[in-house]
Every structure is written in C-alpha cells, then in structure tokens.
C-alpha cells in the first residue's frame, strides 16, 4: 500500500509546485470582480462616494456659508440659487452641501461605535458561552426591547444635542443587532477545527478571539455596519427634524424641520434636503447589499 521509497528529484518538486500552488488574482481584485457584478451596488457606491466628496470639498463647492443670510427670502430655484432660499434668505444649496458633513459624520461614527461595542460584546459572549453569555444576552435584549428612537430622544434631551452626543446615543442604541450577529458567528466558528488546532498549539484565548476568529467573522460585520450607517443617518435626521440636532451645525434634518411650516409656500426648502437624505441612505443600502453579495459569494448562487 505504500510506495517504495525513492529519493525525490528536483523534477518532482517542480511538479509539486505547479500542482500545489495555484496562483490567483489578488484578493482585492477578486472582491471587486464580484462586487461589480451587482450593478445597483456600483450605482450605490457612486452615490456614496459623490456625497463623501461633496462633504469633504463643501467650502469649494459653495461660496455662501450655510447660516449666513445672503438674499431675499423664498427665492425659488434659479441660476444664482439653484435650490432657492429659505425663510430667512439663506442659500438652500449651501445648506444641503454642508449638511452632508453632519449626516455622514454621524452616520459613519455611530456605525463605528455600535460595531465596536457590538463586536466586543458579541465576541466575548459567543466565545465564552455559559453564564456570561446568557447574562450579556439579557443585557442586549434590554437594549433591544427599548424603542430606539424614543430612547434617543430622551437621551439627547437629557445630555444636550451636540454632534458627539448624537453619535454616542445612536451608537449605544444600535449595538445589540451587531452583538447578536457576532455572537452567532462566534458560536459556530469556535467549534471549527482550526480553532481546535490553535488551542492545541497553545494559543491564548485573546489571540484566538481576535486574531483567529475575528477575521473569519468580518464579512457579516462589515455588511451590517454599512447598513447601520444608513440607519444612523436616518435617526440623526429624525432627531434634527424634531429640533434635537446640534444647533451649531446645519443638517438635513434641521432644514426639514425648518421647512415644514412653509411646505406650501416653498417646496424647495423641504424637497432638496429630503432628496439628499433619500439618495444617501439608498446609496448606503445598495452598497450594503453589494458587500453582502461580494463577501458571501456562496449565498448568491441562486
């Protein structure tokens, strides 16, 4: 049953090299190839990139500061003011452009906060299991059953409406979903053979949790956090619409709040910021879908 011993020649090594080492394009290239198959996701990515560029280069795009009174009130969209002016004679266009800063900042930072907390708690809970797991999951459930927006209202009202408070509040309220997701991933990944192998090689728990399991759990975490950016932007817009946004920074929600009294007189005051919110969140959701397809290629094979 065993082949007779024979010394391996260099030809054999060559052959082994050819058979064994299949060269493939770089992972990023593979990833992009899968991502771009989803047309809508590419459109979403373009939208998101567009808004990111707008927020970064806001001062170069518009000359008027968003809060400064530049013209008469209620000028409809025209060549000079492409999105018209509002009830105080402020340029709506520059408001929309600068508003992207707050929305994206809040969206991304809140998603980062919640992903960080959720991953930490989910990883610990799923990996450790047992009593600590059930304790952490009960805490998670407490956060899940509280109506999110209502809680955000109360917390912002209590602690004041600075951008960082809003970010913190949204982050604190949206980690449970991530935690549950990460926990589920860890529950199944910790039973995999390579974790057994890592344990048999004498690796510590921390190393196993963060450097062995975490990279395997990343795809769903990334998809989830991309979707949370969108929902963070919506919550922020909602808070600002109710007058609980950061008063020192212009945001799309604030503009909507301002516009509601003049809906019949000046449609442009509400439409343009509303459109901006719609497009950004749509773009982010499309990107999330695309990431899901590209990161979990097996799920796509319908």
């Amino acid at each position: 049953m065993l082949l007779s011993d024979r010394t391996r020649s260099s030809d054999d090594l060559e052959l082994l090299a050819e058979r064994g080492l299949r060269e493939r394009p770089h992972r990023i290239v593979q990833f992009w190839n899968r991502y771009k198959k989803n047309r809508a996701a590419v459109v979403g990515l373009i939208i998101v990139c567009f808004f990111i560029l707008v927020s970064v280069f806001a001062p170069r795009i518009v000359s008027n500061a968003p809060f400064s009174l530049v013209a008469n009130r209620f000028i409809p969209p025209s060549d000079e003011y492409p999105m018209g002016t509002d009830d105080l004679g402020r340029d709506v266009f520059s408001g929309v452009v600068y508003g992207s800063r707050v929305s994206l900042l809040v969206g991304f930072m809140a998603a980062a906060t919640s992903t960080f907390i959720g991953t930490l708690i989910g990883a610990f809970s799923g990996y450790h299991g047992g009593r600590i797991d059930s304790m952490l999951m009960r805490i998670t459930e407490v956060f899940q059953v509280v109506p999110r927006f209502f809680m955000a209202l109360i917390l912002v009202a209590l602690f004041g409406a600075s951008v960082w408070n809003v970010i913190f509040v949204i982050g604190i309220l949206s980690w449970p979903v991530t935690a549950r997701l990460v926990r589920a991933e860890y529950l199944s990944l910790k039973e995999r053979e390579f974790i057994e192998a890592a344990t048999a090689l004498g690796m510590g728990h921390l190393r196993i949790v963060f450097s062995e399991i975490l990279p395997n759990a990343l795809p769903p975490i990334i998809v989830n956090s991309s979707l949370q950016v969108g929902s963070g932007i919506l919550v922020e817009a909602g808070l600002s619409f109710l007058g609980l946004g950061d008063p020192s920074m212009i945001s799309w929600g604030y503009m909507l709040n301002n516009a509601q009294r003049f809906l019949r007189q000046a449609w442009w005051m509400a439409s343009f910021p509303g459109m901006a919110i719609f497009l950004t969140v749509l773009g982010l959701n499309l990107v999330g879908d695309g990431l899901n397809d590209a990161l979990n290629p097996k799920l796509k094979e319908r």
Binding site: M1, L2, L3, D5, R8, L13, E14, L16, A17, R19, G20, L21, R22, E23, R24, R192, E193, F194, E196, A197, A198, T199, A200, L201, G202, M203, G204, R207, S211, E212, P215, N216, L218
Partner: protein, 326 residues
C-alpha cells in the same frame, strides 16, 4: 522507575451524556520514551483520539471529563496543571497534528501569519525572526519555494502541502512529543507515502518522540517502534512492531492482521472479524472482545483479563495467556 518521557497511568475519560456514561477511554496505561515512536491502533470509535485529546487536555467538556488517572510528562502530572501552565505545554512540549489538513488551517490567514503566531506566543521572538523561522521550517518540510508559500492562503495549497504546513506548525517550537492523529487518512496514497517519509526524517532531525494514532497498520509498520492495540476503550495488546506483526497474541490483533489485503498472498475471501464494535455505553461484561472472539471461554464473560506478560515487552490482555503469567 525508568524515566519515561510520557507515562499514562490508568486513564479514564468518560462522557456524561443524557443517555448515559460513555466510557471512551477506560483504564488506559501506556508510556513513551524519549525519541521513541509509539503507535496506537484500533478501529473507529475505540478511544484512540480521546486518549490523545486527554493528553493535551482538550477533551470537550462538558460532556467529557477525565475522571481518573495520571498523565506524567517527565514525571509531572499534566492533569494537575493550571490552564495557563497547560497552554505553555501545548505547542511547546507537545505538538499535535490532526487528521484533516483541509479544515485545520485558518482559511482567512496567510500561512506566515498562522505560523508566526505560534512562535510569537511561545518564544517571544520578533515578527521578522518568526517569519524567517517559518520559512526555515517549511523548507525542512520539503515544501518547494517556501519563501513564496508562506505568503499564500490555505486554499492555494494542495492537501499534502497543507499537511506539511500543519506538521511544520506543530514542530516549530520543537516539542519533545508529537501526537499525530491519523495524519495521512485524508490524503491520497502517493502523498501519504511522501508524508510518512517526511515524518521519519523529522524524527531523525528533531529527535522528537511520536505518538502515532491510526487505524492503518501499514503506517505503524513504517513509522513506529512499539504498538498499542486498542479495543473499546482499553489497550489489549502492547508489543514492539515485530512482535505485533510476527507473533500477534490477542485474537483481535490476529483477526486485524489477517484481514489486511496483501499483494503477495492471494486470498479467495478476505477474512473479517465478525460482529460490530461494542456500544461503549454498555460494554460487554468481562473481556470486551468476548462476543466477537473465536476463542471465547467461560471466564472471558465474567472477568476482564489483566495484562499478561508473554514475552519481554509484549503484554496482552487475554485469558488465553493466563498460564504464561509470571
């Protein structure tokens, strides 16, 4: 007391399931000397792997638990070690190679990352040194162009290459004992031969002891000095390789050896051992092999046979050899 590298004494590892207690390892004693290769053979489910997992203290718990016994590594009982002390032993003193190279490598980490992690964990070397060492180890595993292979992901490697990488990882801290749990079962025959050749060479180079767990007597013949035959959670026969192959004593061993296909002897019908592996939840009384044994006697059903020494370094647990007892 001779100083064995590893000595297992009356080890019992049980699984406490809702249906009852499964005695996966029941009263197993064996020893491994320095630079010795010991084979542990038996059919599936006879407790070979659990014996290995007990040594590493990796028995899935719950439901598994080591209920009795001592596992002495250089005279120190591993079962008394704390979890942290045990972690120091794993990888550094005892390395383990698993059956299926496809699933035992982390799919999202480069080979270099996986290999250097072990070294950084145990030897506190810098990342660059560790990578150098990883390349060196791969070279010793006869992997072609190791400087390229370290940067690959597991999916880019063939089965044989992955098994080499796993062996390289297990050997990277030069453990004094290497446990190999069916290291070639998942590989095809040509690759198997290559891996076995590699293991023999490594034994010479590193001077590690090997505990080779397998159901393949051919591998035993290739690698091992001494063999323990396991049946239903117990070791039933221990001898050196020549003793087992030329003068098997236990009816089970005899049956096992006669059921091997041989290229040099034509057999009309391949002999088999009648019956099935006993249920470890309710093992047969007395000798656990008695329901399948061709030479069964009345005493076999009543009392489990102790170990009889039939030749120097050849012990067998079977009543047939009672008269030869010292």
């Amino acid at each position: 007391m001779t100083s064995h590298l590893l000595k297992i004494e009356e080890l019992k590892t049980y699984f406490f399931t809702s249906e009852g207690i499964v005695k996966a390892v029941d009263d197993v004693s064996l020893h491994i000397d320095a630079n010795e290769a010991v084979g542990l053979v038996g059919e599936s489910g006879c407790g070979k792997t659990m014996t290995a997992f007990s040594i590493m203290r990796l028995v899935p718990s719950p439901p598994g638990r080591i209920v009795q016994g001592r596992i002495l590594l250089r005279g120190k009982d591993l079962l008394q070690f704390s979890k942290d002390e045990m972690r120091e032993i794993r990888g550094r003193e005892i390395g383990m190679v698993f059956q299926d190279p496809m699933t035992y490598l982390n799919p999202v980490m480069r080979i270099s990352e996986q290999m250097t992690e072990v070294l950084v964990e145990h030897q506190r070397v810098s990342g660059l040194q560790a990578k150098q060492r990883a390349i060196e180890m791969l070279e010793r595993m006869q992997i072609p162009s190791p400087d390229k292979v370290v940067n690959y992901y597991p999916y880019q490697l063939s089965g044989g290459m992955r098994q080499r990488v796993l062996i390289a990882m297990a050997m990277s801290c030069e453990p004094s004992l290497l446990i190999m749990d069916e290291p070639t079962t998942a590989l095809d025959a040509t690759v198997q031969a290559q891996i076995l050749r590699l293991i023999r060479r490594l034994r010479k180079d590193f001077g590690s002891s090997i505990l080779m767990i397998t159901h393949d007597l051919g591998i035993i013949a290739e690698i091992c000095d001494r063999v323990c035959v396991m049946y239903a959670g117990k070791i039933i026969e221990t001898a050196d390789v020549y003793g087992i192959f030329q003068r098997p004593k236990h009816p089970y061993t005899i049956g096992l050896l006669s059921s091997i296909l041989r290229i040099d002897k034509y057999k009309e019908v391949l002999p088999t051992i009648d019956g099935v592996v006993p249920d470890l939840m309710n093992p047969p009384s007395g000798c656990r092999f008695h329901p399948r044994c061709p030479n069964v006697m009345s005493v076999c059903c009543e009392r489990p046979p102790p170990s009889f020494v039939v030749e120097p370094s050849h012990c067998v647990n079977c009543w047939l050899y009672e008269s030869e007892k010292e």
